[in-house]
């Protein structure tokens, strides 16, 4: 039987890999045969995630992506150790909730740097000659916030919308190099970040009222990411795929 999605011998870089959607994606891809390169800030959690992976040839890299200047060097190091990249999944991101009156330029810039700037810089460096294999597929994690407004999420929503727009341009620009780019657009997903959010809101989440399939699991998003990374989606580029339990259509 032909397997629709296989990552045998494929090298996949995942940022924000030590928890939530990133961690679940790493586990899934390792089960599908990938060599996974994990990148995150917390070494203990990276080691823990490495222990959850299936197969061999995985590596982890400790790096804080808010340090934009050193990304180019880090990518070189990653490729030297892990091999040329066949797939890149960007799960790094910070949730920012702040009312407009407290939304200083400094805070907006911080959110944009981490959620958007580091993503563009990573893509810029990964798509340099010698760092990737033909057929490279890049998947970013966006958010329903990019398309639906909510109070207090101005900077976060802006950063995710920027990611989606960048992907529309880059898919066109990088097509001649046989590189595809897409994003997944999750709604509320059962992750440690979501637990924190729920706690802040006293256990109330109004978004779920419109998300009629209920709370999503990290695995649901990981499955969508795996599909967009794989050659099964080789004719799909420049899109933002909702994984939202119906939110955006309700």
């Amino acid at each position: 039987m032909q397997q629709l999605i296989s990552f045998k011998e494929k090298v996949i870089l995942i940022t924000g890999a030590s928890a939530g959607i990133g961690q679940q994606t790493a586990i899934l891809l390792s089960n599908l045969g990938a060599k996974v390169l994990l990148l995150a800030t917390n070494e203990d959690k990276l080691i823990e995630t490495l222990g959850l992976l299936n197969g061999t040839g995985h590596h982890y890299f400790c790096y804080d992506l808010s340090n934009l200047e050193e990304i180019e060097r880090k990518v070189k190091e990653i490729v030297n150790q892990g091999g040329k990249i066949d797939g890149f999944v960007n799960c790094v991101g910070i949730r920012s909730r702040r009312p407009l009156t407290l939304l200083s330029i400094k805070e907006v810039r911080h959110v944009m740097d981490i959620n958007f700037g580091s993503y563009i810089e990573l893509i810029r460096c990964i798509t340099k000659k010698g760092n990737f294999n033909s057929g490279l597929s890049i998947v970013g994690v966006s958010s329903i916030a990019a398309q639906a407004g909510g109070p207090g999420v101005t900077a976060y929503a802006a950063s995710k919308a920027a990611v989606d727009a960048a992907v529309r341009c880059l898919s066109k620009e990088l097509a001649p190099k046989n590189i595809r780019l897409n994003t997944v657009v999750p709604s509320q997903i059962n992750t440690p970040e979501y637990a924190k959010l729920l706690q802040m809101n006293g256990g109330v989440d109004n978004v779920l009222n419109r998300q009629y399939l209920g709370l999503g699991e990290a695995e649901d998003v990981a499955n969508a990411i795996a599909f967009l990374l794989s050659p099964a989606s080789k004719f799909i580029t420049g899109i933002s795929l909702p994984v939202d339990g119906g939110y955006l259509s309700s």
Partner: protein, 252 residues
């Protein structure tokens, strides 16, 4: 008597980035619709020229550099002190730029975001403080169809405009408590844009696929000014958080 649903009489409107051709046209049209207008820009010479040309007692101006984040808060305070609370604001400042990915480094990204996103958020944040903006007021920002359509070498411009539109939705939700509305206009190619270098570069890069897509042809600045007037007026008092396409059919 014919009632004009876009009448802006007794409304005080701040036009940010007023010295561009589109900004000047917007200023003129808002005056025609009866508004009191305060122009804001960093180019004092142009501000004086426009004010002299209009020669209208309902027109004032103030000079601050809105791309300098340090200046915005004190500048807006000063404006509120001089002119009182506003009923509307149009943000038509911003930058363009064409650059392939390999040359899109963080400094370039930051400049683009600063001009098209950070300045807007900071102006709105300061303007909507108590006493500077009336409840029921309307905020309009000029975005671009690039926000929803991708083109080669426009990654930073597109991203900045998409971020801008998303911030509009966030602010609209939040400021609805004060009945303040926030909307953007996704403009297509406007005649005044055509004189800009970055558009010339863009035409070279995206030959054949771009201008032909704007089915109704190139837009005149006055048409954008009319759409701005519409969104500022009470004719749209229950429209908020939208990005209104004014693109001559480009996105079809």
């Amino acid at each position: 008597m014919i009632l004009n649903p876009m009448d802006l009489t007794n409304k005080k409107i701040l036009v940010v980035g007023a010295t561009s051709e589109t900004g000047e046209t917007i200023t003129n049209q808002l005056l025609n619709l009866g508004a009191e207008v305060v122009m804001l820009d960093d180019n004092e010479e142009r501000l004086i020229t426009i004010a002299d040309k209009c020669h209208n007692p309902r027109l004032n101006f103030n000079c601050i550099d809105i791309y300098n984040n340090q200046e915005i808060e004190s500048g807006m305070k000063q404006i509120a002190a001089s002119f009182g609370a506003f009923d509307g604001m149009v943000f038509c400042a911003g930058k363009g730029g064409v650059r392939p990915l390999q040359l899109t480094k963080n400094n370039f990204l930051h400049d683009m975001m600063n001009a098209n996103l950070y300045s807007f958020i900071e102006v709105v944040r300061c303007l909507t403080k108590k006493g500077s903006f009336n409840n029921g007021g309307s905020i309009v920002v000029i975005s671009s169809v690039s926000s929803i359509k991708g083109l080669k070498s426009k990654v930073s411009y597109s991203a900045s405009k998409a971020a801008l539109d998303a911030s509009v939705r966030g602010m609209a939700a939040e400021l609805s408590e004060k009945k303040i509305r926030v909307n953007s206009i996704l403009k297509g190619w406007v005649t005044s844009d055509m004189k800009l270098d970055f558009i010339q570069d863009n035409m070279e890069l995206n030959k054949n696929e771009d201008f032909a897509r704007q089915l109704l042809g190139v837009i005149e600045p006055i048409e954008i000014a009319n759409t701005v007037g519409f969104l500022l007026s009470d004719a749209t008092k229950t429209i908020t958080g939208i990005s209104l396409l004014h693109d001559g059919g480009y996105s079809l």
